[in-house]
């Protein structure tokens, strides 16, 4: 159950960053990147099927747990191998590694989803797909030459 992002909706307000930092005691796991000042993309853990961070982790602190890539802070030595093994650069470390845990302790799902003012983040894959489809249909039906 990873978090899905609809970048068409993202307004780049960085609320998800702040919420993630509040939830995890100042150590956030989301980065909002801006492309040409026109598109904002929040980058966070994808919970990959074949997780390289879990492959590299020699202590088994990062491991696959069903669909998610779980992190066990007690086993972590903070070696930093997972930082450089992540293809998206979303894992970082000070003493222990820090990575998206989908707010396991929080009631009501991940904090970033509940605070997003544009509703760009969700855990529902089908919802994202249906939104994208309807958006494409609306774009195709709109008259040409009108801004």
């Amino acid at each position: 159950m990873p978090v899905y992002i609809d970048i068409n909706r993202c307004i780049g307000c960085r609320t998800c960053e702040a919420a993630c930092q509040m939830e995890h005691g100042g150590r956030g796991h989301i980065n909002v990147q801006y492309v040409e000042d026109l598109v904002a993309v929040p980058i966070f853990c994808h919970h990959c099927d074949e997780a390289f961070c879990a492959t590299v982790c020699f202590k088994g602190a990062l491991h696959k747990e069903g669909e998610t890539t779980a992190f066990d802070a007690e086993k972590c030595t903070g070696c930093g191998l997972c930082i450089y093994a992540c293809p998206f650069g979303v894992v970082w470390a000070d003493r222990t590694a820090h990575k998206c845990d989908l707010c396991r302790e929080r009631k009501g799902g991940p904090a970033c989803i509940s605070v997003c003012p544009a509703k760009a983040l969700s855990v529902d894959f089908d919802l994202e797909v249906s939104r994208a489809r309807s958006r494409a249909a609306r774009a195709a039906a709109a008259p040409r030459g009108v801004r």
């Binding site: 970048i7 068409n8 980065n31 990147q33 801006y34 492309v35 040409e36 026109l38 598109v39 993309v41 980058i43 390289f52 492959t55 590299v56 020699f58 202590k59 030595t77 903070g78 070696c79 930093g80 191998l81 930082i83 450089y84 093994a85 992540c86 293809p87 998206f88 650069g89 979303v90 894992v91 970082w92 470390a93 003493r95 222990t96 801004r147």
Partner: protein, 171 residues
């Protein structure tokens, strides 16, 4: 006492993080990492257990045994040039991941790129689909920038005309 196999050490932060007695010191100064193991009389073996490369062994206390120190040059990122990781760590990652996955579709070796640039690349590849549309709709990128948001209405025309005359007077 700690003995370190200098050929195996990765230059990671494990032993430094794990050591309860501040006996391992790690300095990071402008693109160079120095790890220093002090002489340690403790009976614990945390650093031995936690070393990812198995470079540390415990030997009996010995006066002749030197204090170990290794320094590494950090590898520079291929895109931004900032120094981010030690060479043995990247080698270890390259050896533990499958070879076909280490180059992405553009032939870029992503392991040799720093995490910041990796995030940027990911953001650019995700934004690629909607970026042309956003550019088209952005009024700063179109002739609307000259004409004003509402087009070339009379007041705007007069303003442009005055500007041209003003520029002519300056010349």
């Amino acid at each position: 006492m700690i003995r370190v196999d200098t050929s195996l050490c990765l230059g990671c932060q494990s032993c430094f993080n794990v050591c309860p007695g501040q006996n391992i010191i790690r300095n990071e100064t402008d693109g160079r990492i120095t790890v220093h193991w002090k002489r340690c009389k403790e009976e614990c073996d945390l650093c031995v257990k936690m070393c990812p490369a198995g470079a540390i062994t415990l030997v009996p206390w010995d006066e002749i045994e030197p204090e170990w120190e290794i320094s590494f040059d950090l590898v520079a990122c291929k895109i931004c040039g900032s120094r981010y990781a030690t060479e043995p760590m990247l080698k270890k990652i390259e050896s533990s991941l499958p070879a076909e996955i280490q180059k992405d579709s553009t032939g870029l070796e992503w392991i040799r790129i720093c995490p910041v640039c990796r995030r940027n690349i990911e953001a650019e590849s995700l934004a690629k689909l909607i970026l042309p549309g956003r550019r088209k709709n952005d009024w700063r990128c179109s002739w609307h920038f000259l004409a004003g948001k509402r087009g070339l209405y009379p007041g705007r025309m007069r303003l442009l005309y005055n500007l041209i005359i003003f520029a002519g007077m300056r010349i």
